[in-house]
């Protein structure tokens, strides 16, 4: 049974490593990039990295709850993207640029 072998060789660890790598890349993007659009994309990357680990655990533990959680995450991500893009638009309207440093103006 090569297929089963194949599947068993790609174990939980591989998914988690992938998830961790993607999460770290997203995190690095959030911390280092200045462009708000890129920042939002990085946040999406982090969320999806988490989604991968949810699905992997779900499959591995044989229950459905992890996959249900993924739907929630995706919904939240959509909402967050909407709010984030709205902020980006208003920042752009005001400063003709979408650099994150303009948010410092919100400081009291």
């Amino acid at each position: 049974m090569p297929e089963t072998n194949f599947i068993t060789t790609i174990g939980l660890e591989h998914y988690l490593v992938l998830s961790a790598v993607l999460f770290s890349m997203g995190m690095a993007g959030v911390l280092l990039r200045r462009n708000l659009i890129v920042l939002l994309m990085s946040v999406e990357l982090m969320l999806n990295a988490v989604n991968i680990s949810f699905v992997a655990f779900s499959k591995y533990n044989n229950n459905i709850e992890g996959q249900i959680m993924v739907f929630f995450v995706m919904t939240i991500a959509a909402a967050e993207a909407a709010v984030g893009l709205a902020l980006a638009v208003s920042i752009f309207k005001r400063f003709k640029e979408v650099n994150i440093r303009f948010f410092e103006h919100l400081k009291g």
Partner: protein, 644 residues
């Protein structure tokens, strides 16, 4: 009418007047303000007369009309009612307060009509009458103290009435603060009496007093009454707290007449007469009172010799005459003290109003060196002033003669009196005759020294009518208490005064010393002769005018200087008490407050700020920095959780 209703109207009428005028205090309608205020006091006067008539009708042993409106304080054993009593003593006081008060209100309409604050002035005056009535009618020391403080407040407000002049405002504060010293002692006196006797009701205290026989200085009755007396020295301007009264002349002249001559300053004498059984139980206190009274009478009279401000002369004269009243009550002659209180209220109010009329005529000038010869210009003022002058120097058969000679006789003949007290009193009477004649001579007689720019004119009728009424009272007021030795020659006029007060005056336990009528005649003749000789001397010296003043000043040299500077008492108070106190306060401020308390709070504030700025440095507003903190936080927590 029911006496409770009468007492209520008596008390509330001036209060209503105060509210009516006080709520529209900016108005300059002096006719309306004066009418409201005077009307309010006249209503009170009518009530007083009706109460007096009811009292006369009553059985002599039960002459006491009470009205208790509500229970005011009830704490443990202390029960104070808002209770008011009209009896033999307070009935006299309310008649003086509302009677003389009405006349002075009337006079004020003329005197104050040009003043911008006339409505406020009348409001204060009504408030004063209200508080004074509370003072004399209250049935407990606490109720009395309410009025006692209230009249002090009104006195302060009216002395500083022209407060834009800082010297006058300062005079008001001086009066208030000096009074506070006495008031503190008054409160301590109340504590002592309450602690010992368990009540502050004056009738209960008086009823308990005969159970006390006290020879020591440290007994409760002695200490308590001594403290009350210190309170009286503040209110009634006695040594050592008299210094405020001469300065109080900064107020409008009718105020000086009402508050600082006729009524408020006699509150101390009234209080002692009110509590006479308690004071009789403390011979040491009585001795102190008599000595303080005698010293004050002489000392203030000597200062009066050198003053040139017409009101200052009268002020020192008031202090001196109050000294007589204290001398009287100090030797147990409470009736004589009360009688002098009444006659003094008449003739001193008359003279103060007269001086007001003079000042009014002189466009505000108060220096008698710039007067003289006003007799022709101010005939009515002069004629009435002469009545007051004859009364105060004790000219025979004028009111002051009866009261003053009764005091001098009692000072000599009472078991608690002595020949020294008589001598002090007689010396005071001699000096009084001198400075009052000097005042008359410099103001009204001799040649005119009035500046050309001033045109003196007689005051309007609204001011002269009160003068005339008071002049009549000053002449006849003494006949209510004619001494027995004189009444024999005047067709046996009964001594109403003595009979009236007899039930409320406690006799001295020592009994009465035996003295002959010859002695009384002799002393009387001596003091009257001394007074007349001194008056005549003053007349001879001062009708010539100013030059002789300088000669006198030269002749007496340093003595004149010391007296003219009021014995440097003010300077001594400043040097000995006020300045060191100010200096110590400054030290406390610099070293305790600034260097310690302020510094401590500043250090605490600085520390808080430091911690705050440290925390603030994390709040840069940089989102990525926040994200990094979150990340680092997660890593830290995870490290702890996983490595455990």
């Amino acid at each position: 009418m029911d006496h409770q209703l009468l007492i209520a109207i008596l008390l509330l009428s001036p209060l209503v007047g105060f509210v009516l005028n006080g709520t529209r205090f900016r108005s300059q309608n002096y006719v309306l303000a004066g009418a409201i205020a005077t009307g309010a006091v006249v209503v009170s006067f009518i009530c007083s007369v009706m109460l007096m008539l009811q009292l006369i009708d009553a059985d002599p042993e039960h002459r006491r009309l009470t009205a208790t409106f509500f229970e005011w304080i009830a704490v443990g054993g202390l029960k104070i009612n808002a209770g008011f009593v009209v009896d033999q003593i307070s009935s006299i006081m309310i008649l003086i307060i509302t009677g003389v008060g009405s006349l002075i209100h009337l006079f004020s309409i003329g005197y104050m009509h040009h003043d911008k604050g006339v409505t406020k002035y009348f409001a204060y005056l009504n408030l004063f009458i209200f508080n004074m009535l509370i003072l004399v009618l209250g049935d407990s020391l606490v109720t009395m103290f309410v009025g006692w403080e209230g009249v002090g407040l009104c006195s302060y407000l009216l002395i500083g009435f022209w407060f834009s002049d800082s010297a006058k405002a300062a005079a008001g504060m001086k009066a208030f603060i000096t009074n506070r010293i006495g008031d503190a002692a008054f409160i301590i006196g109340m504590f002592i009496l309450f602690f010992t006797f368990g009540t502050l009701n004056m009738y209960e205290l008086n009823a308990l007093a005969p159970t006390v026989v006290e020879a020591s200085w440290l007994g409760a009755a002695t200490l308590g009454t001594l403290m009350l007396f210190i309170g009286a020295t503040g209110k009634s301007a006695q040594v050592p707290l008299y210094v405020w009264l001469p300065d109080a002349m900064a107020g409008p002249t009718p105020v000086s007449a009402l508050i600082h001559a006729a009524t408020m300053v006699t509150a101390g004498v009234y209080m002692i007469v009110r509590l006479n059984p308690m004071f009789v139980a403390a011979p040491n206190t009585m001795m102190v009172i008599a000595i303080v009274g005698a010293v004050t009478a002489v000392m203030a009279a000597t200062i009066g010799l050198t003053q040139f401000d017409i009101k200052k002369v009268l002020a020192y004269s008031t202090v001196s005459q109050l000294g007589y009243m204290f001398l009287a009550v100090g030797v147990g002659a409470f009736g004589a003290g009360m009688m002098h209180l009444m006659t003094h209220a008449f003739f001193k109010a008359l003279m103060f109003l007269g001086s007001g009329s003079v000042i009014h005529a002189m466009d505000g000038e108060q220096d008698i060196q710039l007067m003289g010869g006003l007799k022709k210009k101010l005939p009515i003022t002069h004629a009435t002033f002469v009545m007051g002058w004859l009364a105060i120097i004790g000219f025979p058969l004028f009111s002051g003669f009866f009261s003053k000679d009764e005091i001098l006789w009692q000072a000599y003949s009472s078991p608690r009196g002595s020949v020294f007290l008589w001598m002090a009193g007689a010396l005071g009477a001699t000096l009084t005759a001198f400075y009052m004649t000097r005042l008359m001579a410099l103001t009204f007689w001799g040649g005119s020294r009035v500046p050309k720019s001033v045109h003196p004119h007689e005051s309007p009728a609204i001011m002269t009518i009160p003068l005339i009424v008071l002049a009549i009272l000053s002449v006849v007021g003494g006949f209510v208490g004619v001494p027995h030795v004189i009444s024999e020659y005047l067709g046996h006029i009964p001594n109403f005064w003595e009979h009236w007060l007899e039930p409320v005056i406690r006799r001295l336990p020592e009994g009465v010393s035996e003295h002959s009528a010859t002695e009384e005649w002799g002393l009387m003749a001596t003091s009257v002769t001394l007074a007349l000789v001194s008056a005549f001397t003053a007349y001879r010296i001062y009708t010539n005018g100013k030059k002789t003043n300088e000669q006198i000043a030269k002749a007496f040299g340093p003595v004149y200087n010391v007296v003219n500077n009021k014995y440097f008492v003010d300077e001594a108070y400043f040097g000995g008490i006020i300045n060191p106190l100010v200096k110590q306060s400054q030290n406390l401020w610099m070293y305790i407050d600034v260097n310690f308390i302020d510094k401590t709070t500043h250090v605490i504030a600085d520390m808080t700020k430091g911690v705050g700025s440290l925390a603030r440095s994390f709040q840069t507003g940089n989102m990525q920095q926040y994200a990094m903190y979150i990340g680092l936080g997660v890593v830290t927590v995870l490290t702890f959780v996983l490595m455990r």
